[in-house]
């Protein structure tokens, strides 16, 4: 009986921390999902944009003594600008078709961004400190990390704001119109190229914001983007490429599965069930739970 209770307690603890971690996975992924939904672009360099957001947090905390959470707007704006540049230079040519060339171009971008970061910041692992670093909350019998709770709250707020932006504003309506059918949207007077660059900037800005949140409890290094990318892709595929809310839920699913695996089986193999899940989803339900039904 004690064994059963202990197992139950451990699973509940894993699920709770999974939800917290998963929320951040969600906000890491919604940018990718948005870019795919609107332009059918799979930005394999999304993880690198997150990485720059993380370094922004490190610089703020180590060089200026500012809490990474205060620079979220700055990372958002800076990464949105870098994202627009990336769109103008590379992805403009691939709008509308998720082709293999597009994927290769994105991988090229990822490598370039990664190595620029290595040249600027060095190859070492860096960390940032925030107000909440190292603090814990005891919630009944459970033990929750304060930075993760804060990051989760920010993630929920950011996702909610993006949904609000897309659902209520005129700009959001135009974005959704382009996502549904670019040609028809153009016919009724939507400036599609303007919408595209805006949507891509939003996607990149979200990546930067997510990075600055993540860095409060996760260290950064130049290739951290490649380490995060699998989770981002899995969260997006499970939730459904193109659906913001779905992707956020996909992130939470990933977090729970990962934490439960780590707690009950083996933390070194915590991502393997996720890869299996990705394969199953791609084989049997490539649109995920809420994804676009196309191609």
């Amino acid at each position: 009986m004690d064994d059963l209770q202990a197992a139950l307690f451990l699973s509940l603890q894993a699920i709770l921390s999974g939800i917290l971690v998963g929320g951040v996975y969600g906000v890491l992924s919604i940018g990718l999902s948005l870019a795919f939904g609107v332009m059918r672009i799979v930005n394999f360099a999304h993880g690198e944009l997150v990485m720059y957001g993380m370094y922004a947090g490190v610089i703020a905390s180590k060089s200026f003594g500012i809490d990474p959470l205060f620079i979220l707007p700055v990372s958002f704006v800076v990464m949105a600008l870098i994202g627009s540049a990336q769109y103008q230079l590379v992805f403009k040519h691939f709008v509308g078709h998720a082709t293999l060339q597009q994927l290769l171009a994105a991988i090229g971008c990822a490598l370039v961004l990664q190595m620029i970061a290595q040249i600027i910041f060095g190859a070492d692992t860096r960390t940032a400190t925030s107000f909440f670093s190292g603090q814990y909350v005891i919630f009944g019998p459970f033990f929750l990390s304060m930075p993760q709770i804060v990051a989760f709250v920010v993630a929920v707020a950011a996702t909610f704001l993006v949904e609000l932006l897309l659902r209520t504003t005129t700009w959001g309506k135009a974005v959704r119109a382009v996502a549904d059918d670019m040609e028809t949207a153009k016919l009724v007077g939507v400036n599609a190229s303007f919408i595209n660059i805006g949507a891509f900037a939003l996607s990149a800005g979200l990546a930067g914001l997510a990075g600055s949140v993540l860095v409060t409890y996760f260290p950064t290094y130049p290739s951290v983007g490649f380490s995060l990318m699998p989770i981002i892709i899995i969260a997006t595929t499970i939730g459904g490429l193109g659906s913001i809310g779905g992707t956020f839920l996909g992130g939470i699913c990933c977090g729970i599965i990962q934490q439960v695996t780590a707690m009950l089986w083996n933390s070194a193999l915590q991502d393997v069930p996720l890869y299996v899940l990705l394969m199953l989803f791609i084989a049997f339900r490539p649109t995920g739970f809420f994804g676009l039904r196309s191609e």
């Binding site: 799979v42 590379v90 040519h93 998720a98 082709t99 293999l100 060339q101 994927l103 290769l104 171009a105 991988i107 090229g108 971008c109 990822a110 490598l111 370039v112 990664q114 190595m115 620029i116 290595q118 040249i119 190859a123 130049p222 490649f226 699998p230 892709i233 899995i234 595929t237 083996n266 070194a268 193999l269 991502d271 393997v272 890869y275 299996v276 990705l278 394969m279 791609i282 084989a283 490539p286 191609e295």
Partner: protein, 343 residues
Amino acid sequence: MEAALPESARRGVAKPSSEAEARRRRAFIYGLVAFLLVASLPFLPVNNYIIAAVVRALIFISLGQAWNVVAGIGGLLSLGHGVFLGIGCYTTGILFNMYGVPPWVGVWGGVVLSLLVALVMGSMTLRMRGVFFALATVAASLAMVQISRHFVDLTGGADGLALKFFGNSWWAAQSRTPAPFLYASLAFVTLYYWITRWILNSKLGLEMQAVRDDEVAAAAAGVAVFRTKMLGLLVSAAMTALAASLYMQFYMAIDPEAAFGLSQAIQLQLPALIGGLGTAWGPIIGGAVMIFLSEVTNWGGTKIGVSGVDILVYGLMLLVVVLYAPKGIVGSVLRNAMKGADR
């Protein structure tokens, strides 16, 4: 009318003109000269560093040629060919270190295992289209990174696996000097060139190109699409695992990132992408360019004290090729020189 046909349909129909015949002969002579030049390197006054760099180029040409079969001829962007490279390296290495099986035999274990994994991977992913197939292969190789890190007793974990060194030994396929590897890798490149040529002109190759150019039309014309893709993947997996033995014997060590990591997967693709997808000459020219540039930039990088410049150059090469020369060097720069010749 003719221009509307995909390239795969036109090939073999057009009669080679005498001019094309001359170009074909010239390409053959250039190839022969390059072959003899590389083969005579150990007798020329060049140091072992240069020879080792040439061996690296030849190994990546072989691996790139293997990837070219599935991606260039078959149009399937596999980002997971590290899986087959890694399986080939680890199987050869583990069989040698733990059971004393010489690599000459061990490599076939790697080939068989790769074929089995390709069968499983293929049956799950080959019905997917384009990007989803690519993402699934990424997932497969990243899962392998974690798995190979986990089974420390077998694979040496994150530190990797180093072959026991026996000095100059035929039995262990090891050598203190790079010259024997030069001949082995040159043999691989030549063999793989002819295999690619043969596939391009075989029924399988024509069917693969038809599926690549238009899957629906190929199916309507009676091509068994799934079976064709699967055969292409199996051939490519076996070629990769076979060349992996060469990689393992030359580098003497393998670790999870070098085997299954994304950067390695990208290095396997660059020769074909730079040189020209779906051509037998592409990976050869592209692999030579890739290793040359990475050697030069690494040398320059150490001069100014910055590491990783080669990866930066890989990324830039990838961008330049995809954006400005999607047909690679053979398809754009050498287009006129090689018109009508066997590419």
